[in-house]
């Protein structure tokens, strides 16, 4: 992508609770809030911080599969539901599987870059607990090529990433790989315990490592190379954030200390009908991350924090390698050595990521941006990590499907 020709900011992030197994208030047998509730809460959460709907020029909503999870299409029509002030303003729904959230961000960013809007309300949402996991797996399999569904696993995407984990085990050793994956899980839960909206916020397991070790992968009941702790959560949640120009910030009265500037973005698409070229590499992520860093003019060593798409723990390992934090085959060790822990070399997924905070598929990309915004502006509460002026950068990587749609965005605290 071209260098950004206009300054683009984000501010006023808001996350709903990520509801699903793990949260005390979640009871699959009782009625729960619908998708409308989440869109409204996240949208209003952002509007409240930017002086109301009157300041908004347009809306973008990212969602993956409401058509099946909620029997609801036409989600752009729900943006004006958030507030009467959004009635008759432009609104767009975007979809790119689990990268729908970041595609919504990219769409908003492009509107600001095109000078067609100064304030874009961006919402990402998914409400998935409307069905049992075995049927949800069918819906989520839509992120792959349907022609491959028949030969795929009952749990299609866990099956895809189990194959990736299997290939990694074969190349570098299973015991070695799972050390890194275990630490990934431990970090996810420990970080989630610091974030009140996280699905694993109330997780009270004493010895997470022992729990992980106890749950061996079992292909008879699940997939061959992953256990359920290696997997992201099934979540109902939405996140909202405002994408703004310089004028937009002024209009909304947002000081730059409370905003992040988008300094680089890359959007990459891999042919969905092709198998991944190398199961032990996330090629599209590698390309997107490199482009975004180039676009921003920084290196990975400048990053203070990172939000990456750990739909499965093995994706965490492979992404660390794709980004260049570790050489191929050394990602597991890099993580096992606590380099991605909140006090490590590159604090990653500081509110739990997809495994700890939750994974409302179409909303995840926006949630990642909100987390980076919180961290860089000092709004992360108990989950706050130290951010210094000499390293004011954060990065998000949101992936759709098996390394098919990838959006990488680089942020900087706006007043530094």
């Amino acid at each position: 992508m071209n260098k950004l020709r206009r300054k683009v900011y984000m501010a006023a992030g808001y996350n709903t609770v990520s509801l699903g197994t793990g949260r005390k208030e979640f009871n699959p047998k009782k009625p729960r809030p619908g998708i409308e509730h989440y869109i409204k809460e996240a949208g209003q959460g952002t509007l409240k911080q930017i002086g109301g709907a009157g300041n908004v020029d347009e809306g973008v909503i990212g969602n993956f599969m409401a058509g099946r999870f909620n029997k609801q299409g036409h989600l752009a029509g729900f943006i004006p539901m958030i507030d009467e002030g959004l009635q008759y303003k432009p609104s767009t729904r975007v979809e790119g599987a689990c990268a729908s959230g970041a595609l919504a961000l990219a769409t908003g960013i492009k509107s600001v870059l095109a000078d067609s809007a100064d304030v874009v309300l961006t919402v990402g949402v998914e409400v998935q607990n409307t069905m049992k996991a075995i049927y949800g797996a069918d819906v989520l399999a839509g992120a792959g090529w349907f022609q491959k569904r028949k030969e795929g696993h009952a749990y299609f995407f866990p099956g895809q990433f189990s194959d990736r984990a299997g290939a990694y085990y074969e190349k570098y050793g299973m015991e070695y790989a799972r050390k890194g994956m275990k630490q990934w899980f431990i970090n996810a839960i420990e970080n989630a315990r610091l974030c009140p909206t996280a699905q694993e916020y109330e997780n009270k397991v004493d010895d997470l490592g022992a729990l992980y070790d106890k749950m061996k992968p079992n292909g008879k009941s699940f997939v061959d190379n992953l256990n359920v702790l290696d997997c992201s959560k099934v979540s109902d949640a939405a996140s909202g954030i405002a994408i703004m120009s310089e004028e937009g910030l002024k209009r909304c009265g947002i000081p730059k200390s409370q905003a992040v500037e988008v300094i680089g973005i890359a959007q990459v698409e891999r042919n969905i009908t092709n198998d991944p070229p190398d199961l032990t590499e996330l090629t599209a992520i590698k390309k997107a991350a490199a482009q975004a860093l180039e676009n921003a003019g920084i290196t990975i060593n400048d990053l203070a924090t990172l939000e990456l798409h750990d739909c499965f723990s093995i994706a965490g390992v492979l992404t660390m390698e794709a980004l260049g934090f570790a050489k191929p085959g050394e990602g597991a060790q890099f993580i096992a050595d606590r380099n991605t822990a909140r006090d490590g070399k590159i604090p990653t997924n500081t509110t739990g990521g997809l495994i700890g905070w939750g994974h409302p598929t179409g909303g995840t990309g926006v949630h990642q941006a909100v987390t980076i915004w919180e961290q860089l502006t000092g709004n992360a509460g108990d989950a706050q990590i130290e951010i210094s002026k000499d390293k004011p950068y954060g990065m998000t990587i949101n992936m759709g499907g098996d390394d098919v749609t990838v959006v990488a965005i680089i942020y900087k605290r706006a007043d530094w």
Binding site: I134, D138, K150, A154, Y155
Partner: protein, 446 residues
């Protein structure tokens, strides 16, 4: 005849009953799985669900559909393999729906016993009526040219009496599921000297495929499970009768129920268990067993009295508990029945007084749920608990020690009287069939 061929035509008598419906479900699923094997392509599998109640059969089909759905959802990973060649079945939902259809398609609900005339196997789960069982077995056997095998679910009638009464020449064995059959893993297998060896071999394979644990029991009335339960229940009743000479009946019953649950670390108290099984069923099983036990009298006037007053316990069709000795709210006992006034007395009105009389539970006590599911720590927890209990002199501790001693005595009696081949078998039945945390034959208090 191979295992698969044997299961091509099966009948379940009493299919709409609580036990029958479970047996039918498990068998239908096993038959459907066989029918999906490539080598069985084109073969017809038929399972006759025979019952006297038309409404019951309608309910059975609803139950079956809901249960097969759950089973299919749990084993979708395997089902995708079984339906690999079906190109039209792509998503999990397609496969699950097809499997439900394939299982239901095997079942033929009917009120006519004649359907069993073509079956290779007849599972029997009708009421515990020896004469009726013999009459039906005889009728089917005389009209079925295939010399069918009879699997009876009786929990109390000696198998040799059914064999002799129906002239089956060893083509019958006891295959006693526990309630509910779809969940409980225990099956008591009762054979006689005359039982056809191939039948025993088949029974073992069938149980293995159903992932059941088989415990052999000898052909003595009541077998192991009811052999322990009935005597254990009678002990509880006698203790209540003894205590109620000095205190109100409802308080005595509350205390013995509490002792047999909390102090003995069992999943439920003895009177809750009687209610769960049904006062009528317990009374009936005792009546079936009693004539075969010349040195004992398995009988309770109290059970007769409760039945006369129409207080039967048991469960509603939705699985909720009916009131019996105890009254239940959301599955928990809240009151005790007073047979003199025919009214329930709220537990809360005397609970504190009774608990004080019993004395505190040992400090090392933990609820059954915690103990039973503490893998690797259970034995140490139980040892510490009983050691502390042994040194206590409260009323609760005394009653518990005496209750445990009685349970121990019953367990040993089942071995010495030849009902069970070993102490291990007795303990396995109580651990898996009754979900006890420990077997009755133990050394905790010795």
């Amino acid at each position: 005849m191979t295992y698969d061929e044997r299961l091509q035509n099966v009948s379940v008598l009493g299919a709409a009953g609580k036990m029958g419906s479970g047996i039918l479900l498990l068998t239908a699923v096993e038959m459907a799985d066989l029918s999906l094997k490539p080598e069985n392509k084109g073969k017809t599998f038929a399972l006759n669900a025979i019952d006297v109640s038309s409404a019951g059969l309608a309910g059975l089909m609803r139950y079956l559909k809901s249960q097969v759905l759950k089973i299919a959802e749990k084993k979708t990973v395997l089902l995708r393999q079984l339906y690999k060649e079906r190109k039209d079945l792509i998503e999990n939902e397609d496969i699950i729906n097809q499997y439900i259809f394939d299982v239901m398609n095997i079942v033929r609900p009917t009120m006519r016993v004649e359907a069993a005339y073509d079956s290779n196997i007849i599972f029997e789960a009708i009421i515990e009526n020896q004469d009726l069982k013999i009459k039906l077995f005889k009728q089917i056997d005389e009209n079925n040219t295939g010399k069918p095998w009879f699997f009876t679910n009786t929990s109390s009638v000696p198998i040799h009496l059914l064999d002799e009464g129906a002239n089956l020449n060893g083509r019958i064995l006891g295959f006693h599921f526990y309630n509910p059959p779809a969940v409980q893993r225990l099956v008591e297998l009762i054979t006689t000297d005359k039982t056809v060896p191939e039948m025993i071999e088949f029974a073992n394979s069938y149980a293995k495929n159903l992932r059941k644990i088989i415990v052999p029991s000898n052909d003595k009335a009541g077998f192991i499970g009811n052999g322990h339960f009935m005597r254990d229940a009678l002990h509880g009743i006698k203790e209540v009768e003894r205590l109620s000479k000095d205190m109100p009946f409802v308080e005595a019953l509350y205390m013995i129920n509490k002792v047999s649950q909390d102090f003995l670390v069992r999943p439920m108290g003895i009177f809750q268990l009687i209610d769960y099984v049904g006062i009528d069923v317990v009374k009936f099983i005792m009546e079936v067993m009693n004539p075969h036990l010349p040195d004992e009298d398995l009988h309770s006037d109290l059970l007769d009295k409760m039945m006369d007053m129409g207080v039967k316990g048991g469960q509603n069709s939705d699985g909720s508990q009916k009131d019996g000795f105890l009254k239940y709210e959301r599955g928990k006992p809240v009151a005790v029945f007073n047979p003199d006034t025919k009214e329930y007395v709220e537990i809360s009105t005397f609970q504190q007084k009774c608990n004080e009389k019993l004395g505190a539970l040992p400090q090392t006590w933990k609820p059954w749920k915690v103990v039973n599911f503490s893998r690797g720590k259970k034995e140490a927890m139980l040892e510490a608990y009983f050691k502390e209990l042994a040194g206590m002199d409260t009323l609760g501790a005394k009653l518990a020690k005496s209750y445990n001693a009685k349970s121990n005595e019953i367990g040993n009696f089942l071995v010495s009287s030849g009902v069970s081949n070993s102490a291990d078998d007795v303990n396995t039945v109580m651990l898996t069939g009754f979900y006890h945390a420990y077997g009755p034959i133990n050394d905790y208090l010795k």
